[in-house]
């Protein structure tokens, strides 16, 4: 099990306070800067490992950064704090983006990112909660996160805690039926503390979701299951922060975050082949240049 990095925790706390005190535009700028750093870290991790899911990492980065820097009540120095908010990354193949974000909060030293997928590293290609502080459950196979999130939100209510639970789902992952079992039950239980964020990048591993097993009308599906639905630009940090601050007391909320796979690097954006391609040579240099602007 990795342990927290105190200086980084202090830095993250100061950053979080700046984000919270800032006006809307300044908040967006601060979060965009943090997201660019996470994307650069992800690129380096994938380059070293020679493996990874850069497309889905980049589509979910702005969501993760906004949640950890502006929304979630967590304590990276005490990751098992019982009343913490829980974030569950159901699309576990985007582990690199999660690890880079957790490291930026000080859950573990950023130097560990260099071990991503190396032999015996804690940082497996899919998250393992028994090794990485801040990881709430072990994901990788799709369709697991929402049921675990429903149980987590139920436990908080049974214990009288106001902690919230956020589950980030890939859109292609919604083809797994277990999500809809969980969606029915969350609404039945009136779990207002539960938020499902759908990283709606429109692509799955092999093709567009709409060409594989179409999800639309997606918002209507969630509404018909009894959820409150919000739609947002998943790369607009200020809009994301706004949408996450709203909730309905007796209904779970589905945030459909419209994103692009590979967002942040022009030649990766909305291209299915970047689901798990590894950039090399000139591509890396170009990607770094774009992420440093």
């Amino acid at each position: 099990m990795l342990t927290s990095s105190r200086p980084q925790v202090d830095h993250w706390r100061a950053f979080r306070d700046r984000v919270r005190d800032a006006g809307r535009d300044e908040r967006a700028n601060l979060l965009a800067t943090a997201s660019a750093q996470v994307r650069r870290d992800v690129l380096t991790m994938i380059e070293r490992a020679g493996l990874g899911h850069v497309g889905g990492d980049f589509s979910v980065t702005d969501i993760l950064v906004t949640l950890y820097a502006a929304v979630l009540s967590v304590e990276p120095a005490e990751p098992d704090w019982p009343d913490r908010d829980r974030l569950i990354l159901s699309k576990g193949h985007s582990a690199a983006a999660l690890y880079a974000t957790l490291a930026s909060c000080g859950y573990f030293p950023a130097t560990e990112l260099a071990t991503f997928m190396a032999p015996l590293s804690a940082l497996n290609g899919h998250p393992d909660r028994t090794k990485v502080p801040g990881v709430e459950t072990n994901t990788g196979p799709l369709g697991h996160g929402l049921p675990v999130g429903v149980g987590t939100a139920l436990a908080a209510r049974l214990r009288g805690s106001s902690a919230r639970t956020v589950v980030i789902l890939g859109d292609g992952e919604l083809q797994e039926g277990s999500n809809w079992e969980a969606a029915m039950y969350a609404a039945h239980q009136q779990l207002g503390s539960l938020t499902a964020v759908i990283d709606r990048n429109g692509l799955q591993q092999g093709a567009r979701t709409e060409d594989t097993n179409a999800l639309e009308p997606l918002a209507d599906k969630w509404r018909s299951f009894g959820w409150t639905v919000a739609e947002v630009d998943g790369h607009d940090h200020a809009a994301l922060a706004d949408v996450f601050s709203a909730s309905t007391p007796d209904r779970p909320t589905a945030v459909i975050a419209h994103t692009q796979k590979g967002h942040g690097v022009s030649f990766m954006t909305d291209r299915v082949e970047w689901h798990h391609r590894v950039p090399t040579g000139e591509e890396l240099a170009l990607a770094r240049a774009e992420l440093s602007r």
């Binding site: 675990v148 429903v150 436990a155 908080a156 049974l158 039950y185």
Partner: protein
């Protein structure tokens, strides 16, 4: 009846272990407010009505949705609760196998998975409802102790063990009727068989609903001058390797007995240990690689040679092969 400190005096009143399960669950829940029951519309078949009435807020009934049920249990544990997941064994283990692997065992959650009515308990309802594969499926998963109680006493002991031990476990709760077999203070330890009779001709290793039939088989053999060592195997995982090795050394053959497929369950585990450390004849009794025909529990057990006389026949056959 053969005498053993672990055996109760012979009494053939038969019990459905789900009653002991329900009583013990309520007792445990009164003492430990973390305990919640999670089920899949199985309040009646898991005998949870009294629990629901006493602890209405602590029964999580997800409806007919086993993958969600196991995921929800993992989440409840994440939130500091201690879930007992109660569902018919075939659907708990089959439908939610990947959730059991990823959300419970790999994630190392203190969740007690309770497979109700395993084996051929559902008799005439057919192979879709028989849970004969659960032991094989779950033995392949790391970090998941498998407990197969043989009577009401051992059912209660297994539940207390699962509460007191951090991490996941699978309890296989019998529905097929069994007598009270074990003395109340019989110890239950991971990786330990419970010796029921001494013997140096043949060893019978049995789990769950068939343990009492193995004891009866030993009585039948004793009349013929064959001494059978009977070992109850409450833990299929971790297995009592030392007891298997001793049996292989000290008797001339082993017969394993379980209400499950012969592919990958208790018998396969015992045979594997014997083959590795002390090769001997091992006869694996169970459901032999087929889907069961239509019939009630007693018919099916007789059909597959899983009665006392069938087990005794197999013991004689092992000894004949060994050159007795």
């Amino acid at each position: 009846m053969i005498e053993s400190t672990n055996l109760r005096p012979a009494d053939r009143t038969m019990y459905d272990c789900r009653k002991a399960f329900a009583d013990e669950l309520a007792t445990l829940a009164r003492a430990d407010e973390r305990i919640v029951a999670v089920c899949n519309d199985s309040v009646s078949s898991s005998n949870l009505a009294a629990f629901r009435d006493e602890f209405p807020d602590r029964l999580v009934n997800v409806g007919i949705a086993e993958q969600n049920m196991v995921g929800v249990a993992s989440g409840l544990a994440n939130g500091g609760l201690l879930p007992f997941v109660c569902a018919a064994a075939p659907f708990l283990t089959g439908r939610a196998l990947e959730q059991i692997k990823a959300d419970i065992a790999y994630a190392d959650r203190h969740v007690v998975l309770c497979g109700m009515s395993p084996g051929v308990a559902y008799g005439q309802l057919g192979p879709t409802h028989h849970s004969i594969e659960d032991l094989s499926w779950l033995r392949a998963i790391a970090n998941l102790p498998i407990v197969v109680p043989a009577d009401p006493t051992q059912t209660r002991a297994a539940m207390r063990w699962a509460v007191s031990t951090e991490g996941p476990s699978y309890l296989r709760i019998p529905r097929s009727p069994v007598p009270e077999l074990f003395a109340p203070d019989t110890p239950l330890e991971p990786g330990r068989f419970v010796p029921l009779t001494d013997g140096d001709d043949v060893t019978l290793v049995a789990a769950g609903t068939l343990v009492w039939r193995a004891v009866e088989a030993a009585s039948l053999l004793r009349i013929e001058g064959i001494s059978a060592r009977v070992l109850a195997a409450p833990f299929v995982e971790p297995l009592d390797e030392a007891a298997v090795i001793a049996a292989a050394r000290e008797t001339r053959g082993i017969v394993t007995v379980e209400e499950a497929t012969v592919s990958g369950g208790l018998g396969a585990a015992v045979a594997g240990v014997a083959a590795r450390y002390c090769p001997t004849r091992v006869r694996v009794l169970g459901i032999p690689g087929v889907f069961a025909p239509t019939g009630d529990v007693e018919f099916l057990l007789e059909h597959f040679g899983l009665t006392a006389t069938g087990i005794a026949d197999s013991a004689r056959s092992v000894l004949a092969d060994a050159g007795r």
